[in-house]
Amino acid sequence: MNNNIGLITVQLIAALFSAQAGAVTLTFIENNDLHAHLTPHLDKVVKNGQTVYESRGGLARVATLVKQIRAENPNTVLMNVGDTYHGGVEALYTLGNAVVDPLNALGVDVGVPGNWDFAYGPNVLRLRYVDTLTTTQKNLLQRTVSIAIKKPNFPNIAANMQSTAGANSGGLLLPGTLTKTVGGVKVGFIGLTSDIVAQMDTMLAAGLSFTQGEAAYRDLVNTQAQTLRNQGAKLVMVMSELGLQKDYRLADVINSGAVDVFFSAHTHDTIFAPLKTKSGALVVEAGHDGWLGRMDVDIVSGQAPVFNWTLLPVDSSIPDDPAMKTLVDAARAPFLVANPNMTVPMSGMTLKLTQPIDTVLGHAYAPLDREDALESTFNNAWTDTLRQQTGTAIALTPGFRMDGPTPALGTVYEDNHIADGALTIEDVYRYIPVPYTIGTGTVQASTIKSIIESDLTAVYSLNSFAQAGGWLNGWSGLNINVDLSQPDGRRVQSIRYADGTPMADADTLSATGCLRPTDTADGSGTVLCSFAGFSNVASLINPATGNPWYPQELFSTALSQGWLADGARRNIADAAATPAWPDQPFVQPLAVRVTAGAKLSKSGLVYNAGTKIYTAQITLANTGGVPLQAPLKVVLEGLPASVTVVNAAGSYYSQPYLKLNGSLAPGSSQSVQVQFKKTSGSITYSPAAYTGGV
């Protein structure tokens, strides 16, 4: 009893002291891009400079971490940002319902939908997210869906999604903002959902429009942030599915002090140190479901808040939370019976699940993943498999980021496990969680070139708002030479066929690709893998079912019969040799080495006997015909360890860099001074120009 009184006294004194000092720490947890991954799975991560496979993710581990953090600090907000209800087999066959009960038990405070959360169609979207539906509206919508749609028990916000139909036309479909008082501090949240829904399929965006373009987003965020500040918000947080590149740009152009932190999602970037921006806002992203982000904010009255960001790995060191594991097991139980006997519950779908999802279908003898923005082993294996099946000249597959990295048989990984290369039904759906079907068509070579060029823009454009956030499409049958340092529309250098013959614009090619449910597939279609310009597009029929052939079916057959192609080939070459993850600090390449149209020169060195600093000047001249686009930096490559750059603006791939100002027009040049200190040896280095990036 005495002990209890003592403890209470100490707590009261601590609380009083804290109140007197006006000090409080708030904790914001970012759980982004769950992709419906209920259980742990292998992932590729970088540890001590090495890329290794680790068991990552799983909501039972996430629940343990969240409970630990809340126990440490009751003033905690859990945010669920981005793709949540889509990405796994359990989700596809329940239209996302399988995720809802476990996620609701996590105690999420606020959420923002991701682009894939629109994938079950506009009616499911409204049934899941809109809290203001009348009973009549709900009943009408539910009649169009064959299963009852479960709803999250937390508010979801999206300030950039307008309704274009019905009584609410012109208004927001979901609330745009939320305020919440935590630890006595009022916090404002602005939600930004994906703005590429119509690009995925116009049907998915039925009755909706999305804010587009940098200026519109700048004004939107400025206005909403000011409104929240006027309402007394001490902190303003943006939760965004626009992706890191757009968010980083946006944070640069909004009003100074408008926003405190952008919690980004969509692009799966693992941001270990917050990105600083011109407005003062920090930008962070917590990878995907293998990580949790934690932002502690120390608030002391009369002082600027102090932000501390940590990325927490959701790995095997985190024990399962028993209650959450029970919920996850319950959600998965129907999928682990001998014959789940399920059909995707969407109109016209014939894709069925007739075996438990942990059934091993076959083995990978080479690594499979989608971990490289330009060309990935899975996309290579898959498109080669498509061509083997159809005999077309080329094949293409969408540039999804979704995967479940599979080490080759015999690979030693975490805790000295030896991979057996096994791929289960569950893995198949992690690679292809969408119910599209396979189709063939014909296309002119010039169209293919345009498709690749536009795709390169969507992945590598220096205009962040021209990026879509995905990877390059996968290709088979083509050898593609690109130069990623070139501007939009000029990156494709040459394309040859698999036999080495140059591709001519007038060539007509046969192609295998994918068909969305709304695409014409009777032989008169003109769209393949969402790209227009094809002819004679038709569904490929699965001889086993007599129905349009689903990629999950063909993938499963190829695995079980042992003829899934090996994806280790490399057929896309970048003249700029742009490093990809894991060599790049970001998953999405953000800066590209300039390889043509530029000359770098360096002056001799001048030594100051007092400061012991060596000074030189590096000059970048644009010798090409197109501008070198800002931001431009000069990276000092090959510098010995005994030499340091005193005035470096930062480091890139562990090499120091200097910043230039603005873009560089053809024929012009710009110089930057560099200062060295050395402990021994010569000062040797090669300056390299980079365009784009942070």
Binding site: K602, G604, L605, V606, Y607, T615, Y685
Partner: protein, 199 residues
């Protein structure tokens, strides 16, 4: 035609200060340092081993100050400051550090030669720094810590990268009034010679 030649000649004279001349006449106003002890630091260092072979030759050094004995010499250096001092770029660091009691002015001529230019992108920089006895920079461009920096690029192009306000620089000796008259006469002769060739 004569007008064009004259115009071109004047243009060369007027523009030679900035870039292409390989001979420079340097004058440093050290009147604010008069009587102070310190150092003169002449250097000619390449960017790296790929820079084309080059040299900076200092001659006609004069001052109202006093040179101390035993200069500190490093690298590819020959001669002496009271005669002809040649700094090559054969080493990473090539310098002549001269103990000095400053007077009111320093002047000298420096010839910078790049006999075999290349396209390496690497230049060599001639520099003059002034220090006090504790090696604190004096009369320096703050970005470089030196009073004068002239870079000879890989192609032999000369660029003045730093020039402190106390340093005056020209591509020819400062002309006396009678020399200016001779110069104009010389230009006239050039024009006459060209006219004769054209005829």
């Amino acid at each position: 035609m004569i007008k064009k030649v004259l115009a071109a000649s004047l243009l060369v004279l007027l523009s030679s200060h900035s870039a292409v001349a390989d001979t420079w006449y340097v004058n440093v106003d050290t009147s604010t340092l008069s009587g102070q002890s310190g150092w003169l630091d002449f250097q000619f260092n390449p960017a790296d081993a790929f820079a084309p072979a080059a040299s900076a030759t200092i001659m006609s050094f004069s001052s109202t100050g006093l040179m101390q004995p035993m200069p500190l010499v490093s690298g590819d250096v020959s001669g002496s400051l009271d005669g002809t001092l040649t700094l090559g770029n054969g080493q990473d660091f090539n310098g002549w550090l001269q103990g000095f009691t400053f007077g009111t002015v320093i002047s000298f001529r420096v010839d910078i030669n790049v006999p075999t230019p290349n396209a390496s992108g690497s230049g060599s920089a001639f520099s003059l720094s002034l220090y006090d006895s504790s090696y604190n920079s004096l009369l320096a461009d703050p970005n470089w810590g030196a009073s004068l920096v002239i870079n000879a690029s890989d192609s032999g192009m000369m660029n003045v990268l730093a020039q402190a306000p106390s340093v005056s620089l020209s591509a020819s000796p400062v002309p006396e009034p009678d020399m200016a008259a001779s110069l104009l006469a010389g230009l006239g002769l050039v024009g006459f010679a060209v006219r004769r060739r054209a005829a």
